[in-house]
């Protein structure tokens, strides 16, 4: 009870200090009046009484001061004092404060910007309940470890056997054609089994999810609408349940509406339709081309689930060797799998931003140390008046904190603008699989606060300790030259400058490596010609295989006749879009046995005639597909050069035969060999590929590739019209060019190179300012001495060289340390470079030369100024 009233008293004193002051006044006033009365009563005149009473009271203000001291809030009061001093001191040197706050704003702002992305991508959980329980199940080849998709037959087994999951769902996202007011339109669609909403623990806004029966073959055609599509297509009609969605083959009944914003990964599906799995024959649903998502059962860890799935995979390998030879299963967190790609890039940027801030701090420390020397007499006086060293240090640290927080506040503004600029430029390059909006939130502000405080302590403590080390006598006598403290101070500053030069050089080397990587990537030979090709998606829907084949044939005929079109063809999955398909095959001599253990894996692609010409892929031997190759004719395939080299090393490839799995079991003749294509990306090695003919194995999904003369997009309307002349109800989607796809793949390396270069430039500027500052300071300090030496006959060149040498030594030392550090750290850069080694001598050399050039120029200026010193004015006492 007592301490609460004590606390209240203290808080009152702190916040109502005005009132407390007034009361103290009144109290002492009362005492004074009674004293006066006393004296008057004893016979003195009023004025004499007052005079004596005042004398007896002593100085009223001193009494008040003592009372205040007794109130035990000395700490808070002195902190407030320090704050006032700090504000005053910073306002007195506006130039210094401006420079400091500006460099802090840039440094802290850069870090906050990158942190905003890190927060949105790596730290923020997915927007589902208990999203850390969400997992992805992927199959993978045991020897290569690269994750593949899941096969429906395996999914059925997993669902039946695994105990570690609350729910498992199988998903695929082929587009859907719907009938709109302007004919057929292609929209997004997610095929899914019934557990989808249960896995993500969301409930539909209207209606329900799919039932078990709806995912069996032959059930009624139902659809669940995506929230955005519901708004767009049905106007957000609350009575949409039961309404029909028209599709070319009939119509689908709406049974539900998904919650707003529901998606896995980047795009919100427009519609959801049931993924049909025949329990008797799950393999008939399709191939290893589906994605499996699940929710861990409560109390089950990721590792436990992994272990269980490994065991199940092993069992499945034995039970169905045809399907599962050499295949295993990965279980990974959903968030992890979405951000895996983005993580290294973000880490790189965070490290680089931190280095820039470190350089800014070092600069500031140097500046503050120089200022400290100038304020020596001020501190000497305060020290003589009783201020302890701790008090002086504290005041200087508070000055640093004020600078830092002002810089931090400005930094938040910088970060706000920079984040928006980056998002507009291309956030996708940095955020990979996360589509949530990116903006500054509370966590980012807290981050800024923490960084500002840490920054202040880093750059403030050393100068504070240096400045507070005062010898009052010496300082007051203005003996500021030649003291040991000076020498130590100078050595510290030199070390700081060498450090910041080294850091800047490291960044410069990094930027150089990334720029060279970018130029290597741009020059990668993709195996095809991106320029001048138009692409679009044609989803063929649920037609019979013959119809699909005929439709494509007719479309190709019509499109080829369009003026300006040089070639046209189709492919199931366009290169550089992240989708591939793989299968197995047997060489001719093993084909008859169809022994599962003898299959060779290979990548495959489903193309039509004219594809190679449209893509500009060279035909190296034999011939490409043409009109002769039909569904009724003998099976033909084309293979890539690496395939030919690997499996037919003797060279004569056209005419040989292979049997490709699940391509209706007939031996196919290899009719031609084409050049290798980098299908997966710029940095991947081309994989041996078998090209199957669409006319013989028609697929549902296909993309039309058209090579045109001139700008491809100008022919877009004509091509679309040609398609509609053949099939008026064919939806055409996603018109673009291959060049755009290449740009997208280059987006991340380009953005990384740009950002790191930008940071490196800032770092170099800061480091050069640091070097300049130090030499200029040395010149200023020694102006007197230089004047004497000039007067005594030293040549100006001599002075210049001496100072230049000092600066050059610093720069050189920094270069050496920087290059050594860069070499030591080169392993860390290996994920980001391509086409150069991390120890590439050319890059290092260019970086070193560039930096030296700029830094030495900065040294020349003050050195030159030193040589221009007029002896007379220097000898004049300042």
């Amino acid at each position: 009870m007592r301490w609460t009233s004590k606390l209240r008293l203290r808080v009152l004193s702190l916040f109502r200090s005005g009132q407390v002051e007034r009361e103290l006044d009144e109290e002492l006033q009362y005492h004074l009046e009674r004293l006066i009365d006393d004296h008057v009563a004893a016979g003195l005149s009023p004025s004499e009484a007052r005079y004596r009473a005042l004398r007896e009271m002593g100085g009223i203000d001193q009494r008040k001061e003592e009372c205040r001291d007794a109130r035990g809030l000395a700490l808070v009061d002195s902190l407030r004092q320090d704050l006032t001093y700090a504000r005053r001191a910073l306002r007195k040197s506006p130039g210094f404060s401006a420079v400091a706050i500006l460099s802090l704003a840039i440094g802290i702002g850069a870090n906050t910007t990158i942190f905003t992305f890190v927060n949105a991508v790596l730290l923020r959980p997915l927007p589902y309940p208990e999203s850390d329980r969400l997992v992805v199940l992927q199959e993978h080849a045991l020897d290569s470890g690269e994750p593949l998709n899941a096969h429906p037959a395996n999914f059925v087994e997993w669902r039946a056997r695994a105990r570690s999951f609350e729910a498992l769902a199988l998903v695929q996202t082929p587009p859907l054609n719907v009938m709109g007011s302007n004919g057929a339109e292609q929209i997004g669609r997610m095929l899914t089994t019934s557990e989808l909403f249960r896995v993500f623990k969301v409930s539909p806004v209207l209606g329900r999810g799919f039932t078990e029966e709806e995912t069996r073959p032959g059930s009624n055609q139902v659809v669940i609408l995506g929230y955005g599509f519901w708004q767009r297509w049905f106007g957000g009609d609350a009575g949409v349940l039961g309404r029909q969605l028209a599709v070319p083959e009939g119509s689908l009944t709406v049974v539900g509406v998904a919650p707003p914003g529901f998606r896995i990964g980047l795009t919100e599906p427009d519609t959801f339709t049931p993924l049909t799995i025949d329990p008797a024959n799950p393999g008939s649903t399709g191939s290893r081309a589906f994605q499996c998502y699940g929710r861990l059962a409560s109390g089950v860890s990721l590792d436990a689930a992994s272990a269980e799935m490994t065991a199940i995979a092993s069992a499945l390998r034995h039970e169905d060797p045809r399907l599962n030879k050499g295949m295993g299963v990965f279980v990974s967190g959903l968030h992890e799998s979405l951000v895996r790609e983005a993580r290294p890039g973000l880490r790189l940027l965070m490290a680089v931003a931190a280095i820039v801030l470190a350089i800014a701090c070092v600069n500031l420390a140097g500046l503050l140390m120089a200022r400290g020397v100038g304020r020596r007499s001020e501190f000497a006086v305060r020290s003589a008046l009783g201020a302890g060293r701790g008090r002086l240090v504290r005041q200087l640290v508070i000055e640093s904190l004020v600078l830092s927080f002002c810089g931090g506040a400005a930094g938040i503004a910088v970060a706000f603008w920079a984040t928006q600029a980056l998002v507009a430029l291309n956030a996708g390059a940095l955020t990979a699989g996360i589509a949530e909006p990116i903006g500054l939130d509370t966590r980012c502000v807290i981050f800024t606060l923490v960084v500002s405080t840490a920054t202040a302590l880093v750059f403030g403590l050393v100068p504070a300790r240096q400045a507070s080390r005062v010898d009052p006598q010496a300082a007051l006598r203005e003996q500021t030259r030649g003291a040991t403290a000076d020498r130590r101070h100078h050595r510290v500053r030199k070390i700081l400058v060498v450090a910041e030069v080294a850091l800047a050089v490291v960044l410069l080397v990094g930027a150089g490596l990334l720029l060279r990587t970018l130029s290597s990537l741009v020059r990668v030979d993709l195996g095809f010609q991106p320029a001048g090709t138009l692409t679009m998606g044609l989803f063929l829907g649920l037609r019979s295989p013959e119809t699909r084949s005929v439709v494509i044939d007719q479309i190709l005929d019509r499109v080829e006749a369009v003026p300006g079109v040089r070639a046209a063809g189709t492919i199931q999955f366009l290169p550089l879009r992240g989708m591939t398909c793989g299968t197995g095959f047997w060489l001719e001599d093993q084909a008859s046995s169809q022994d599962p253990s003898r299959t060779q894996p290979t990548e495959c692609a489903l193309v039509s005639r004219g594809y190679f010409a449209a893509m500009g892929i060279p035909v190296l031997a034999g011939r490409p597909f043409d009109r002769r190759d039909r569904m009724s004719g003998p099976r033909v395939v084309v293979v890539s050069q690496s395939f030919a080299k690997r499996y037919f090393p003797d060279g004569r490839v056209p005419g040989r035969r292979i049997l490709v799995q699940s391509s209706n079991q007939a031996l196919a003749e290899i009719i031609g060999v084409v050049g290798d294509v980098r299908h997966d990306g710029l940095t991947s090695d081309p994989a041996p590929t078998v090209f199957l003919l669409h006319a013989q194995t028609p697929g549902y999904i296909t993309n039309l590739v058209v090579r045109t003369s001139g700008d491809p997009l100008t022919h877009a309307t004509a091509v679309r019209r040609a398609i509609h002349e053949v099939e008026p109800s064919q939806a055409v989607a996603g018109m673009g060019t291959i060049e755009q796809d290449v740009m997208k793949v280059l987006a991340r390396p380009r953005l990384q190179a740009a950002l790191v270069t930008c940071f490196a430039v800032i770092a170099v500027v800061l480091a050069v300012i640091g070097v300049y500052g130090l030499i200029a300071y040395v010149v200023k300090l020694r102006t007197h001495e230089i004047g004497i030496r000039l007067a005594l006959g030293a040549t100006r060149e001599r002075i210049f060289f001496e100072l230049f040498r000092q600066g050059a030594l610093l720069v050189f030392a920094g270069l050496v340390v920087g290059v050594a550090a860069a070499i030591a750290l080169r392993e860390m850069a290996s994920t980001f470079v391509f086409g150069v080694t991390t120890a590439d001598p050319l890059t290092y050399l260019v970086a070193a030369l560039t930096f030296s050039g700029v830094a030495l120029a900065a040294v020349i200026i003050p050195a030159h100024r030193a040589s221009r010193v007029q002896p007379i004015s220097a000898l004049r006492v300042e």
Binding site: R2, W3, S5, K6, L9, R10, E23, E26, E27, L28, Y30, H31, E33, R34, L35, E56, M57, G58, Q62, R63, E66, C67, D69, A70, R71, G72
Partner: protein, 110 residues
């Protein structure tokens, strides 16, 4: 005034103030008068010593303050002893008695 008002007398001053307030609540002037009266003018407390002491005691929770009206109608700040203060008074009195008897004993030996 015995010696310097700080050092020795700070602890004793606290004791005197607490004892004075044990009898009845009083304002600063009243405490000064009372101490002067009871000790027969031997101890005169300067306001410079008294008021800081009063504020310190208040902050430590031994006494509490309240604004009130004097008989002459003026506003003054009255202090009174808290229960904790009463206990503290007991402790400090005991300490003082022990100290003074020790010193007396020492002085009495020849």
């Amino acid at each position: 005034m015995m010696g310097k008002p700080t050092d020795l007398l700070q602890g004793t001053l606290d004791l005197l103030v607490l004892k004075t307030l044990a009898l009845e609540p009083m304002h600063g002037w009243g405490i000064t008068l009372r101490i002067q009266q009871i000790t027969g003018d031997v101890l005169q407390v300067r306001p410079g010593a008294l008021y800081p002491a009063l504020h310190r005691l208040e902050h430590q929770g031994w006494i509490t303050a309240r604004w009130g009206e004097t008989s002459a109608g003026r506003r003054a700040k009255y202090y009174s002893l808290t229960r904790a203060g009463r206990l503290q008074l007991g402790r400090e009195s005991e300490q003082w008695r022990r100290l003074s008897s020790a010193v007396t004993a020492l002085l009495d030996t020849v």
